[in-house]
């Protein structure tokens, strides 16, 4: 177990900057998830922690010791790679035994075999040990790659998109499995993913990263409910959050927000959001609505409801998604599937009851 810290790390790949001044620290035994889109610098962050990429600037610490100049083989970290990186000329067993060969005081042959068997049983690959790695499915390769990282006791685990190539059904089971393994081993883990469901369900804390910069560090609850900026709000949630510019007005003593360029779409916010918005009367704020928070009806409901036409409807199994125009903006609304919804028919949307996500015009959280 160990604490890992990156302090002001910048990685410069010649012309492109992969990481810009990244700083974070893990707790001992923490499960930390790095979430971000492709090309955000997630893998580079892991490789810096593993000692495979040397930061251009900044330092890396493990348990307070500066390990920036320590090569990867001396750091005692275990890492899985997005493409598994199983050695193609080795059998599965040889792949799993590979870390023993590098140890100064390796366990005895019997202990090695016992350990390989134990890990293989745990990940249900014990019947595959004598296979060649190209004779396995993606899910099996994935488990072999996890097993290889688990045959020894590393200081930290680094997982690079371990579930991205696994098909949806296995992914669900593996996610639960990983959760169980992580809490059983209580080893500090940094887990990279682009899937917000994985991030929210696995992470003790989440780092949201974009274009080489950290956007927010927080618990899953904070990331989902208090996104620091529009980018973070967009990363978590499916379908994406709806964010539109609104004018904040004071009418007859009542606080009103009105969709920019579409005055008939308005409502009066209350509660916490209302008191924040009261500070911005006369200005423009960006307000976000999660698609599942919007009240909708196919018949007129109340005077606040905004009437519009259904442009698109997708059935997603348990849920459906309606796309409707809000002025010139597209709005996504999650619906139940028990009512029949026709494209082109009218829908009434009531925004006033939805929890509001408030951002300023440059996209930062409004407080």
């Amino acid at each position: 177990m160990a604490r890992v810290a990156l302090k002001n790390v910048t990685v410069d790949y010649g012309t492109t900057v992969a990481l810009k001044n990244i700083s974070f620290e893990t707790e001992d035994g923490e499960f930390l998830v790095i979430l971000g889109p492709a090309g955000a610098g997630k893998t580079t962050t892991l490789k810096v922690a593993a000692g495979l990429v040397k930061p251009t600037r900044g330092r890396v610490f493990m348990d307070g010791e500066d390990v920036t100049d320590k090569p990867g083989n001396l750091r005692n970290v275990a890492m899985t790679f997005e493409d598994y990186a199983l050695y193609p000329t080795f059998s599965v067993r040889q792949n799993l035994e590979n870390p023993f060969g590098a140890m100064e005081n390796p366990p005895t042959k019997e202990e090695q075999e016992a350990k390989v068997m134990e890990v293989a049983k745990m990940l249900q690959i014990d019947h595959l040990l004598d296979r060649r790695v190209d004779q396995m499915s993606g899910g099996q390769k994935q488990r072999v790659s996890l097993a290889r990282s688990m045959v020894r006791q590393p200081q930290i685990f680094l997982f690079d998109e371990p579930l991205s190539h696994v098909d949806a059904k296995i992914r669900h089971a593996m996610r639960a499995e990983l959760h169980r393994l992580a809490s059983a081993m209580a080893t500090t883990t940094i887990y990279v993913t682009h899937d917000y469901v994985e991030a929210l369900s696995l992470g003790d804390r989440i780092i949201v990263i974009d274009k080489g910069e950290i956007r927010q560090i927080g618990t899953p609850h904070e990331i989902y409910h208090k996104p620091s900026c529009e980018f973070v709000a967009n990363v978590v949630g499916q379908p994406n959050i709806n964010i539109y510019p609104f004018l904040v007005k004071q009418e007859n003593g009542n606080l009103m927000v009105e969709l920019k360029d579409t005055p008939q779409c308005n409502f009066s916010p209350n509660g916490e959001a209302g008191s924040v918005l009261a500070k911005h009367v006369g200005g423009v704020v960006h307000i976000g609505f999660r698609p599942q928070d919007i009240r909708y009806s196919l018949t007129p409901i109340n005077s606040h409801a905004f009437s519009t036409k259904i442009e698109l409807y997708e059935l997603w199994g348990r849920r459906g998604m309606v796309m409707a125009l809000l002025g010139e903006h597209e709005m996504r609304v999650l619906t139940d599937t028990d009512t029949r919804i026709d494209i082109g028919s009218q829908i009434w949307l009531d925004l006033s009851k939805a929890p509001l996500y408030l951002f300023d015009e440059s996209g930062n959280q409004l407080t």
Binding site: P71, G72, N73
Partner: protein, 292 residues
């Protein structure tokens, strides 16, 4: 006739057609070689007979002459020839040249493929230019240099200049093989606890072994067939088979039979090497473990 029968019938015709075409192609390309092998077992009278003789009594005389290094000729006595020594010279020079090129070229290819350093592209281009520059271009300066430093007609001198032939081939072929090996393999092995150089030997080297076999074979063939370098920079003590084979064309006789026997012997090493290297040619070992 149902659908599958039609399909099967069509398949039969395609198979027969394809094989016939292959036989024609093979006959066209292999006929000169087969004829030469035939000539090596013929007497000079059989060789010069018209119409050509397809059925003849084979003789070992040509091979005996090559291996004992003497031609016995009625009325003239024994004429010495130096084919077998040349065979050994060529074997030594070609083998050592290729070995040296593999030992230096594979690490060089790895470096060019993996590391970013100043002048990398210039260096790789320079290596490539050795291949498309004609040997004649460099032979005169090398001749003078070798004379000055006493490398004329030595094994070391020839092995050295043969690097011009063998090294670029190995570096360029091996570079593309190393390019194909994902860096993640090495990184994974480093994370497993091995220093980088051990990771390369342990993981990368076995993956690129087919490439080493293929490029070494190609380099060996080029070295084996080289004529100009050994003609200009060699001496009697290092003379190669390409030179000796030419000596069979002399003012007094054209010894077709012995020449053929010599050529048959001279392509045996390449044949043996090809058979040995063939099992490494199966590429695609590295594919499948990594998803792209």
């Amino acid at each position: 006739m149902n659908q599958t029968e039609i399909k099967e019938k069509k398949n039969w015709w395609t198979i027969i057609g394809a094989n016939l075409a292959l036989i024609v192609i093979f006959a066209f390309f292999l006929f000169p070689i087969l004829w030469m092998v035939g000539m090596s077992f013929k007497t000079i009278d059989d060789i010069l007979a018209w119409p050509p003789k397809f059925i003849f009594t084979p003789t070992w005389d040509n091979y005996r002459a090559i291996i004992t290094s003497t031609i016995e000729q009625r009325g003239v006595g024994k004429i010495p020839i130096d084919f077998m020594p040349s065979f050994w010279h060529t074997l030594i020079i070609s083998t050592l040249s290729v070995l040296l090129s593999v030992f230096l070229g594979v690490p060089a290819a790895y470096a060019i493929s993996r590391f970013k350093f100043k002048g990398r592209d210039d260096i790789s281009f320079t290596f490539l230019s050795f291949r498309f520059g004609p040997e004649l271009l460099v032979i005169i300066p090398i001749y003078f240099i070798f004379q000055k430093i006493g490398l004329m007609g030595t094994y070391i001198g020839l092995i050295w200049v043969y690097q011009l032939i063998t090294m670029p081939m190995i570096i360029w072929i091996m570079k593309s093989y190393v390019d194909d090996v994902p860096v993640d393999f090495e990184d994974a092995c480093v994370v497993d606890g091995y220093p980088r150089w051990k990771a390369v030997l342990r993981i990368v080297l076995p993956i690129i072994r087919p490439g080493i076999a293929a490029s070494a074979l190609l380099a060996f063939i080029y070295a084996w067939n080289n004529f100009l370098f050994s003609l200009v920079l060699g001496s009697a003590s290092t003379s190669t088979i390409t030179l000796s084979a030419m000596k069979f064309i002399s003012a007094e006789a054209l010894r077709y039979g012995i020449m053929s026997a010599g050529i048959v012997i001279s392509f045996l090493p390449i044949l043996a090497f090809s058979v040995f290297a063939q099992r490494y040619f199966v590429r695609g070992l590295s594919m499948g473990a990594i998803k792209r």
